[in-house]
């Protein structure tokens, strides 16, 4: 378990100080894939770098399995870092070493015998699906392949935690997806805890179970992905979930009663719900506003409907729509 407690990081800058992180508290459980999402400059990289003490927090602590890693000596910290490895947006492979040697690198640092290291590296090349690239140099690989090598390198010391700082931000959507699939698979097989730093919603949706939204150095919302994404409360979360500012756009409406249909990950993304209701119940609802988002085949967000007719019609509509799984309906 990783406990980030009251973490504050203040940088000295030219014209004073800059609070990159302000009293951040996050708990991440073993085996979880935890997303930390936020806009550029929100402090995500600073936060993840505090987790392995590449950046020393100004205040607060990071406790991994009961061990306050801020209190370790330089040597103890170096040992601990073999347990919390990291992949980066820019891959950061050693360009003058072959892929095999890159994967051996952390083992070499740890003093693992050469033959043993090589065996492990070859095994990891299989895991990441690039067994034929052992003797290729990073410059000869595509970005996605380089990130796979970086993942293999990060896994070489059998870490408990994998930190991913914008690991897919330099990749196209398809490659991003395949890298995320790989991380998911590794998580499933080894039980490694994964912390994903990203500014892309799609990444969190794709892979994370829990998420914390970081805005201007503070955690403004956190919880299960479906929860946070279906009912974003903070402005920062709303901006992320509806990047086009698709806050509810209301159509002019008469004084007909309104109901709000909330999608909490309902599998309804592809069902023409409203038309179906018209057919089944004869209720021709007006869509007054909508801010929904399809995540995979699931829908999040809400729709505001105007229901013509009387109280009875409204009750019928509420009952009809409310019966569908993961949809809640309320009168407004």
């Amino acid at each position: 378990m990783i406990e980030i407690k009251n973490l504050t990081k203040t940088f000295e800058v030219a014209n004073g100080t800059l609070d990159a992180l302000k009293d951040v508290n996050i708990t991440i459980h073993d085996g979880e894939i935890f997303g930390i999402i936020g806009m550029s400059g929100a402090g995500k990289s600073t936060l993840v770098r505090c987790i392995n003490m590449l950046e020393r927090p100004t205040e607060g602590s990071v406790i991994i399995d009961g061990c306050d890693i801020g209190r370790l000596s330089a040597k103890e910290l170096r040992n601990k870092r073999r347990n919390i490895t990291m992949i980066f947006q820019g891959f950061n492979l050693l360009m003058q070493r072959t892929c095999l040697k890159n994967i051996c690198f952390p083992l070499e640092l740890a003093g693992v015998p050469k033959a043993e290291a090589k065996e492990k590296a070859l095994e990891l090349l299989e895991t990441v699906g690039l067994p034929d690239k052992a003797y290729a140099y990073p410059a000869q690989l595509s970005g996605g392949q380089q990130q796979r090598i970086a993942i293999a390198r990060a896994l070489a010391t059998n870490p408990q935690v994998l930190l991913c700082d914008e690991a897919t931000s330099a990749l196209d959507p398809k490659t991003t997806h395949s890298i995320l699939e790989l991380i998911k698979e590794i998580n499933r097989k080894t039980g490694i805890t994964v912390i994903i730093i990203t500014h892309q919603m799609s990444v969190v949706e794709d892979i994370c179970t829990n998420v914390a939204i970081l805005d201007n150095g503070r955690v403004v919302e956190s919880g299960a992905v479906s929860e946070v994404f279906s009912k974003p409360k903070s402005d920062a979360a709303k901006r992320l979930v509806f990047p086009e500012g698709a806050e509810e756009v209301f159509a002019e409406s008469g004084n007909e009663p309104r109901i709000r249909v909330v999608f909490n990950g309902a599998k309804a993304a592809n069902i023409p719900l409203i038309s179906q209701m018209a057919i089944d119940k004869g209720i021709v609802a007006n869509i007054l506003g909508a801010s929904t988002k399809a995540i995979g085949d699931r829908a999040y967000g809400n729709i505001l409907l105007g229901i013509p007719g009387g109280k009875e019609q409204v009750a019928t509509a509420i009952e009809y729509l409310g019966a569908i799984e993961d949809i809640t309906v309320e009168e407004v």
């Binding site: 590449l54 601990k80 980066f88 950061n92 360009m95 072959t98 952390p106 640092l109 990073p138 410059a139």
Partner: protein, 239 residues
């Protein structure tokens, strides 16, 4: 004047000198350059590493006073003109070699003059290493010494080789200059015959040979640097 320089007699005499003295002179210039460069690298490489690793925010921060002192010493040594430096280090040369004249003796001032330069070249090579790669190594638990030996130096090998080429060609031209104060080699021939005895043709030959040597070192250096660089995509390295 010109017809005198290129007269048949002068030509014959020059060729005579060329045959008798040039092989030795060429050899002297060659080994002095190589040895002086080797010693300059032995001193300059660690110093260059300290300049990068030791600074604030480097992988092995050293006391600010020490860093300032290093920089001042390097700048001082680099600002003394080579001719004057050669004379300045006479006592040191005598202490090490036993004499201040002759070919081996010229190695001492050459090394003193060039190791600060080499240190600066090494510094600039090491600064080219992507800091993110260094940070990645830190995130994997690399110690400062491991970062220097396994990341900074190996990652900058191509640049180090091309800078070593710059160093060797510079030292070659310094070594020619050392002919003035008793150093051997092509420089000595050029000065003795060309300057003191007006045998321009001999001097021209000496200069041509120096140019050839520079070209040789430069092209070997460039080839090695390119060959060692695994970042170049065009050349597929296979094993």
């Amino acid at each position: 004047m010109l017809d005198k320089i290129f007269s048949a007699d002068a030509l014959a005499e020059s060729i005579e000198i060329l045959q008798t003295e040039f092989p030795v002179a060429l050899w002297e210039t060659f080994y002095v350059t190589i040895l002086a460069t080797a010693f300059a690298i032995v001193l300059g490489l660690p110093l260059g590493v300290l300049l990068v690793a030791g600074e604030k925010g480097g992988v092995l921060p050293l006391p600010k006073g020490l860093m300032n002192a290093l920089n001042v010493i390097i700048n001082l040594l680099r600002s003394v003109p080579f001719l004057i430096l050669m004379i300045l280090v006479f006592p040191l040369t005598r202490a090490i070699i036993g004499t201040t004249v002759g070919t081996p003796a010229s190695i001492v001032p050459l090394v003193i003059a060039s190791f600060p330069f080499v240190a600066r070249l090494v510094e600039s090579s090491l600064r080219e290493v992507n800091p993110n790669i260094i940070e990645a190594a830190q995130s994997m638990g690399a110690s400062p010494l491991q970062i220097i030996c396994k990341v900074m130096i190996p990652e900058s090998v191509p640049s180090l080789i091309s800078n070593a080429t710059i160093a060797i060609t510079t030292i070659l031209s310094y070594s020619a200059m050392s002919g003035i104060i008793g150093g051997g080699g092509l420089g000595k021939i050029a000065i003795n015959y060309g300057y003191y005895r007006y045998k321009y043709l001999v001097m021209v030959f000496a200069v041509i040979l120096l140019i050839v040597l520079v070209q040789l070192f430069q092209s070997i250096g460039t080839k090695l640097a390119t060959k060692s660089d695994k970042r170049l995509k065009t050349k597929r390295n296979t094993k």
